[in-house]
Amino acid sequence: MEATNHIAFIVAAYAAAIAVVGGLTAWVMLDYRAQRRKLADLEMRGVTRRSAPMRRPEPTMEKEEA
């Protein structure tokens, strides 16, 4: 069985793997930047966990960090 007969299938499979791992990596990195930017924007406007108002909107995991 000649490798050259099936080289296109092998290359396509490795291209798919690069697309999946690369795509996931790009997704988590871009999402991280986006969330950090949103947090920085909120902090610039003076909204921080320290400036929390008396009334909390809902129970979240934040309460464990007190």
Partner: protein
């Protein structure tokens, strides 16, 4: 630091910030070594060079099922202990598991065409893996549909536990039914049936993919904690303004 300490989101973030660069670096090294070993591995006596697709297909299948396994344990954490970090884990693992399941399906098709003469057959193994992929999409859709994270987490946890039935079906489908897909040759009772010259590169590639999975999961969990922090702050801001 005890493992239980990581249940605190702030401590988890510090742990993730320290660990992700090291895990990422280790992943790159493992992939470099694994791909090198895969390229110099001999051709199979029957399947020729197409056996190199196995170095992607088997890790894809392993991580597709591992992802749902992680989500199943997290679902128990959500429903039994109602722990927010369990919700975070389940939500973060879903797209990663879905992507690796898709990789398994695509590489399987690309391997099947030259070996079986077809990209797809509706046999039990292929169909049960396709169902796993559709279950992943269902869970992701559920997370996106329900706005309140804690309600979404409970709904997704129930779907995850129901979907876990598919895992043993995938594993034993090749034993229970007459399938075109070959029986287990690596994860089986007794020794693997693959020659070490191919088994060792396969093992290294599986380790590399698993490290990639762990890195991506940690990073996605960190993002989800930050996303919830942003949501909480915005709700506080809106609450203070009203």
């Amino acid at each position: 630091m005890a493992i239980a300490d990581l249940a605190n989101p702030s401590r988890f973030l510090r742990f993730a910030n320290r660990t992700i660069p090291w895990l990422g670096g280790l992943t790159v090294v493992a992939f470099a070594f694994g791909i090198n070993q895969a390229m110099v591995a001999p051709d199979d006596y029957q399947q020729g060079a197409t056996v190199k697709i196995m170095f992607l297909h088997v890790p894809g299948a392993w991580l597709g099922t591992l992802g749902w396994g992680v989500m199943t344990i997290a679902a128990l954490g959500t429903l039994v202990w109602r722990h927010p970090l369990a919700d975070v884990t389940a939500k973060a693992a879903a797209p990663i598991g879905a992507a690796f399941t898709l990789l398994c399906l695509v590489t399987g098709s690309l391997w099947g065409r030259p070996m079986w003469g077809t990209y797809w057959v509706w046999d039990a193994r292929l169909t049960s893996v396709l169902i796993l992929f559709l279950l992943y999409l269902g869970v992701i859709a559920l997370w996106r549909t329900v706005e309140d994270p804690s309600r979404a987490a409970r709904a997704a946890a129930i779907l995850t536990l129901v979907g876990a039935i598919d895992l043993p079906i995938i594993k034993f489908s090749v034993d229970w039914w007459n399938t075109l897909h070959q029986p287990a040759s690596v994860f089986r009772f007794g020794a693997p049936t693959i020659d070490p010259s191919i088994l060792i590169p396969l093992f290294i590639m599986t380790v590399a993919f698993t490290l990639a999975f762990a890195t991506l999961l940690l990073a996605a969990m960190r993002n989800e904690i930050l996303r919830r922090r942003v949501r909480t702050l915005r709700l506080m801001q809106a609450s203070a303004a009203s």
